[in-house]
């Protein structure tokens, strides 16, 4: 390597390069395929009618002649595309979105002219109390504060653990690790009693508070890890410039640990978004969240489980958007740039 290329590579980190060799590339692709297969199965299934889901494998979805006799195209000589089109459906998504509960499908029921109970057969069904639309809003109400509050509170505590000296910090830190393993079921009854006494049972703040309490040990634990890896020089020079803890915390630490906060935010968001038990106990059925509506689509004997395939995809959309949106905080050189700035 010549001096010229060396200095170039040092000043400008190499990005967007191909995998270093073919073997690595193949390895990555194999892992990705293994990871994707189950999800692809779900995606394909979510567009198939129940009779075919139960009688044929999803990977045979393009075979237009398999399955029970009743699922066959009435004209055996029809073209491939014509046959294929009858073997896929968007009913699972429509039924999941509108919250249709019945033996047929929402579209069939509406086309027949007899409106299903509680349905109007127009766009307003998207926001009816059984549908996913309203549940989406409720889930947002639950999730956003339940993500922000614990991170906010945890940042202060993590700062104290990493850069302050006080009595009992090891003991409290040990307890902090231990608290993460406390099963949620152990705390439900006393907390519910307390909320009932305060009169906030069944309100959003009740859920926020509980998620904050349960999210804190992990949030502090993780943020302490990132804060304590910051270089000591940073703090010493700030101190020489006459800064106090508050200034160091807000001006230096907070910007520098943005990547850690971003990944913590992703996971806290996910856990709250996918939680059913806490919102069921403290919020109840009057303000249904997405997970409540999803689990509510299946009867106690498992009928309607095919709707879960569509519902699972719908509820996955927002977390994936959050993941991509926060990707920009996971890039090399964040730290270097911030220190200079």
């Amino acid at each position: 390597m010549t001096t010229a290329t060396l200095s170039k590579s040092l000043s400008k980190p190499r990005k967007n390069r191909e995998p270093s060799n073919l073997g690595t590339g193949i390895g990555i692709v194999i892992i990705l395929i293994i990871w994707l297969i189950p999800t692809i199965g779900l995606l394909v299934t979510s567009f198939r009618p129940l009779s075919l889901i139960n009688t044929t494998g999803w990977w045979t979805a393009l075979d237009v002649n398999n399955g029970p006799e009743t699922a066959q195209h009435p004209d055996p000589n029809a073209g491939y595309v014509e046959k294929l089109s009858t073997r896929f459906t968007i009913d699972n998504y429509v039924d999941a979105l509108t919250g249709y509960r019945g033996t047929g499908t929402y579209l069939e029921a509406c086309a027949s002219g007899i409106k299903p109970l509680g349905m109007n057969c127009n766009l307003t069904d998207l926001v009816n109390p059984r549908g996913m639309g309203r549940a989406f809003i409720n889930s947002l109400f639950v999730t956003v504060p339940s993500t922000i509050l614990p991170i906010l509170v945890a940042m202060f505590a993590a700062y104290a653990f990493s850069w302050m000296d006080f009595k009992g910090r090891y003991a409290i830190f040990a307890i902090l690790v231990g608290l993460q393993v406390v099963p949620i079921q152990m705390t439900l009854v006393p907390v519910l009693r307390m909320f009932a006494g305060m009169g906030i049972n069944g309100t959003f703040p009740a859920v926020w508070l509980f998620h904050t309490g349960f999210g804190l040990p992990y949030a502090i634990y993780m943020l302490r890890n990132s804060m304590s890896t910051l270089p000591k020089d940073l703090f010493e020079s700030a101190y020489l410039d006459g800064a106090d803890h508050w200034q160091v915390f807000t001006k230096i630490v907070m910007p520098l640990i943005t990547p850690a906060i971003a990944s913590l935010a992703i996971f806290q968001f996910l856990w709250v978004w996918n939680d059913l038990l806490v919102s069921l106990v403290f919020l109840g059925g009057s303000k249904p969240v997405m997970t409540y509506q999803i689990s509510n689509m299946v009867t106690s004997l498992g009928a309607g489980w095919h709707l879960l395939t569509a519902a699972a995809f719908l509820s996955m959309l927002l977390p994936m958007i959050v993941f991509f949106a926060l990707q920009k905080y996971f890039v090399r050189g964040m730290m270097a740039g911030a220190v200079k700035g």
Binding site: N16, P19, P183, T212, F323
Partner: protein
């Protein structure tokens, strides 16, 4: 000079640290510590908390008095006829299964997550590759249960709607009942766990790798280090604190793990883990005392990892 305790690089007034800590401590005390202490008392009482656990002892059987629920929690799953049956039944008990989960799932998620984070670091479409590994985390568990039905489903002579058995029967073998064959079934469930949680480990490890200064890597590359040497001698030691954090978090997650087992086998066929057993005792069987005793044992499992973390904590501060 560095010392084993914290470094007060700045002067601080008495009590300032507590201002930073107090909000968190108050919230955690109200929502975790107080309810937990409140509930632990139940583990020394009978099923509905009306009398001491000692009253549930039955004549002619071993009894631990007020610790009776703990006796039940620890020994009920064991077949103590002989040393051999005790050993065998231990490995299909919830405790034995949790040890299998800890060993395989923590190694699997952290190992694959670390390797993958390094492999995709700086390739084109890194974000997309990471998103694919991360995706299972975003699927709510109700959805994931359906997904794995299409992998493990056991079809008989005519149709296979599970892809694994379709492959196996396609090759001319008999279909395998993945979820009811002991001890295969626990490992099949662990595969689901690894699939779900590798994205978590990868995300944290990947951002730690990205914080390694570029200069260090390039310098050793000039010194002729191979990719593997860079990985094992530079990257891994630098991100070791994060690896410990990720391992600890995964240990906690595996100890608390409930959904996968509950949804897919309900703890049947010898797949019970501590958390599903706790749930069954608490709610299905309405034995709150026994359930709480199991929960307390679960919490005690974490002690070795607390020790490990404190060691790391002191070492890290001594170094900086």
């Amino acid at each position: 000079m560095a010392r084993a305790t914290a470094l007060p690089v700045m002067k601080q007034k008495m009590g300032v640290p507590w201002l930073y800590l107090l909000p968190a401590l108050i919230v955690m005390t109200i929502f975790i510590v107080y309810p937990m202490v409140n509930t632990v008392g139940l583990s020394f009482q009978n099923n509905d908390g009306t009398a001491s656990a000692a009253t549930t002892c039955r004549e002619g059987e071993p009894c631990w008095g007020v610790m009776e629920n703990y006796r039940y929690a620890l020994t009920n799953e064991l077949n103590t006829e002989s040393v051999q049956t005790t050993w065998q039944s231990f490995w299909t008990s919830s405790y034995g299964n949790n040890i299998k989960w800890l060993l395989v799932m923590v190694t699997g998620t952290v190992g694959i997550g670390l390797i993958f984070a390094v492999l995709v670091d700086r390739i084109k479409r890194e974000a997309l590759a990471k998103a694919i590994i991360f995706m299972p985390m975003a699927i709510s568990f109700v959805g994931a249960g359906v997904i794995w039905k299409f992998v493990y489903n056991y079809g008989t002579s005519q149709v296979q709607t599970g892809i694994l058995n379709a492959i196996i029967t396609g090759l001319g073998f008999e279909p395998v009942a993945w979820l009811s064959k002991v001890p295969l079934n626990t490992f099949m469930l662990i595969v689901v766990g690894i699939w779900m949680w590798t994205g978590f480990c990868m995300t944290l490890l990947s951002s730690a790798i990205k914080s390694i200064p570029e200069e260090i890597i390039e310098a050793s590359r000039i010194d002729g280090a191979t990719n593997f040497e860079i990985f094992s001698k530079i990257q891994v030691p630098i991100i070791a604190p994060t690896i410990i954090v990720v391992i600890t978090t995964m240990v906690i997650n595996v100890l608390k793990l409930f959904d996968i087992v509950y949804v897919m086998t309900g703890g049947n066929f010898g797949t019970n883990v501590i958390a599903t057993r706790m749930y069954t005792e608490m709610y299905t069987n309405a034995q709150y005392g026994r359930g709480t005793a199991i929960a307390v044992i679960l919490i005690l499992f974490i002690i070795p990892f607390i020790v490990m973390n404190i060691r790391r904590f002191t070492k890290q501060e001594a170094m900086r």
